[in-house]
């Protein structure tokens, strides 16, 4: 008995010594970065040493800037044939997320890019093996709600369902990530060059207009993949985290809700030009401003719709005051229809949350075509002759109204 106790520590020590070289060889990859600050984007180089023969992935993410992301699942489930009506929302989506994959996988990304807006993030990740590197968004907290049509109408998100398990959260997080960052190029880049000895280097460029603040990068080296049917066992080593800071300066500011930064001059100029044009064509500027903002800036459609609407509120208010001065508003008619519009305005913003950006663009495209038809109709001779008469009456009434006000005043 006594001998056994003396032998055991010795045995453990020998074992440890025996396996030590092995353990040293399997040490995590090293990581170096050549810059610690960027000024509104720029490029930098990440390099280091990974085990020879491994696939090297770099996970890149914003640390302190988080955004809200949501998705409404209203698609029929092909297996059960029912519509889930589920609403997923998170407040912890990193404002930036990207995985840099080995350069030789560029062809797979090009294929995904060619698929257009309908590409599937989870499938592409699997194809290029980057699901092994996907870790930060997999841990965000996602609330899921069971929505109903009735609940949506009164504007509630539905009943909060119990939290999803890790696997479900990971799966849903990929869909939210895709919804937030949209394109293949935003989420993946093939840029890691590796030598046969395992030293790697990646030139990464960050576009301008991203969130400021601290960013982290870490390297995941996949040393072994064993495929058994559908299941894949991945052996991977993760490096330490390196950080850098992205700095922005006024007039570029960070939009907290959108998760991107923007040079304020552009929306200012755009809004000025569009409102002038809106006045000229006799329609509010929102019709043109919204699609342009969605197309040219990386802003979510919910933020665009929710921010443009208050901008026109003021113009409408002054318009009403001016018409009211000359008693040109029929309050009974305006309030009557206004009550119906109040109900519509209650429902609409909820629906904005429930559609994707692509659906937003699609419907908006048709709305603009209908509007174009209306505009065209207003330049046809039949409309013009009718309008001429009406404008004459309008002018006459305005004159009388103004005189009436003057006479009183």
């Amino acid at each position: 008995m006594n001998i056994k106790f003396r032998v055991l520590p010795v045995l453990v020590l020998t074992m440890a010594l025996l396996f030590a070289p092995e353990a040293r060889a399997q040490q995590g990859p090293t990581i170096n970065i050549d810059k610690t600050t960027l000024n509104n984007g720029g490029s930098f180089v990440i390099s280091g040493q990974a085990p020879a023969g491994s696939q090297v992935y770099i996970e890149l993410y914003a640390v302190d800037k988080k955004v809200r992301a949501n998705r409404f699942d209203g698609k029929k489930d092909p297996k059960t044939g029912t519509i889930p009506y589920k609403f997923y929302i998170t407040k912890e989506m990193p404002a930036f997320y990207k995985i840099i994959i080995p350069a030789e996988m560029a062809a797979a990304l090009d294929k995904a890019k060619a698929a257009g807006g309908g590409w599937k993030y989870s499938e592409v990740l699997k194809e290029v093996g980057a699901d092994a590197a996907y870790s930060v968004p997999a841990k965000i907290k996602i609330d899921n709600y069971q929505a109903t049509i009735m609940a949506s109408i009164i504007g509630s998100r539905g009943t909060l369902l119990p939290a999803m398990d890790d696997k479900e959260t990971k799966r849903e997080s990929m869909k939210l990530v895709k919804g937030q960052f949209r394109s293949v190029g935003n989420l993946l880049a093939a840029a890691v060059e590796t030598t046969p000895e395992g030293s790697y280097m990646a030139k990464v460029s960050l576009r301008s207009g991203l969130a400021p603040g601290e960013y982290n990068a870490r390297v995941i080296a996949v040393t072994d993949r064993i495929k058994e049917g559908d299941k894949e066992t991945v052996t991977k080593l993760t490096s330490e985290v390196v950080s850098f800071e992205n700095k922005i300066a006024f007039p570029t500011v960070y939009l907290k809700n959108a998760g991107t930064s923007i040079n304020l001059l552009w929306p200012f100029l755009l809004a000025a030009v569009v409102t002038i044009f809106g006045v000229l064509m006799g329609a509010g500027g929102g019709f043109i401003l919204n699609p342009l903002l969605v197309m040219f800036f990386p802003l979510p459609h919910t933020i665009v719709a929710g921010t443009v609407m208050p901008t026109v509120l003021f113009a409408q208010g002054t318009g009403i005051m001016n018409y009211n001065k000359i008693k040109f508003i029929n309050w009974k008619l305006g309030i009557g229809i206004g009550c119906a519009m109040l109900a519509g305005g209650f429902i609409g913003p909820k629906l904005t949350e429930m559609i994707t950006l692509d659906q937003f663009k699609f419907v908006f495209g048709w709305i603009l075509l209908v509007l174009a038809a209306l505009m065209y109709w207003q330049t046809t001779p039949g409309y013009l002759s009718k309008n001429k008469k009406e404008q004459a009456i309008l002018k006459e009434f305005k004159k009388r109204a103004e005189e009436a006000v003057k006479a009183k005043g």
């Binding site: 200012f268 064509m281 500027g285 921010t307 008619l333 519509g344 509007l371 174009a372």
Partner: protein, 129 residues
């Protein structure tokens, strides 16, 4: 419903007006625009009201929608104050400058240009090219 306006009396079908207004309100608050260009044809064509009663009253009706839509968007956290502050002064300036330029231009030409611009923008959004 009967409506009096400057001594004239109009018969208004409020069912059509309210249902139409309701649908336009949903659409416009959902996509974040005013809705005037749709309300005016609704009231002139469907309700057969003359232009001079429509211009002011439609604006009042739309104001209800915009105010409610604004409040709801804010409630859902879809309002970005900084972006708003960048666009709001521009919208006010545009509101002053616009009418000055409007006097010098033919409205027909402007509408034709707008029409072409809307078709380009619309087809672009639909991803047709």
């Amino acid at each position: 419903m009967k409506v009096d306006f400057w001594g004239q009396e109009f018969q208004v079908n409020m069912w059509v007006g309210c249902i139409g207004g309701f649908l336009i309100a949903i659409m416009s608050s959902m996509f974040g625009f005013g809705g005037g260009p749709f309300m005016v044809p609704l009231m002139t064509l469907a309700l057969r009201l003359p232009m001079y009663i429509v211009v002011g009253s439609s604006l009042l009706a739309i104001f209800f929608n915009t105010a409610m839509g604004t409040a709801r968007h804010m409630q859902f956290g879809n309002f970005d104050l900084i972006l708003f502050l960048a666009m709001f002064p521009a919208a006010i300036i545009g509101g002053y400058v616009g009418p000055m330029i409007a006097k010098k231009l033919s409205p027909q030409v402007v509408k034709r240009v707008a029409c072409a611009g809307l078709v380009i923008l619309g087809t672009k959004l639909l991803g047709l090219y």
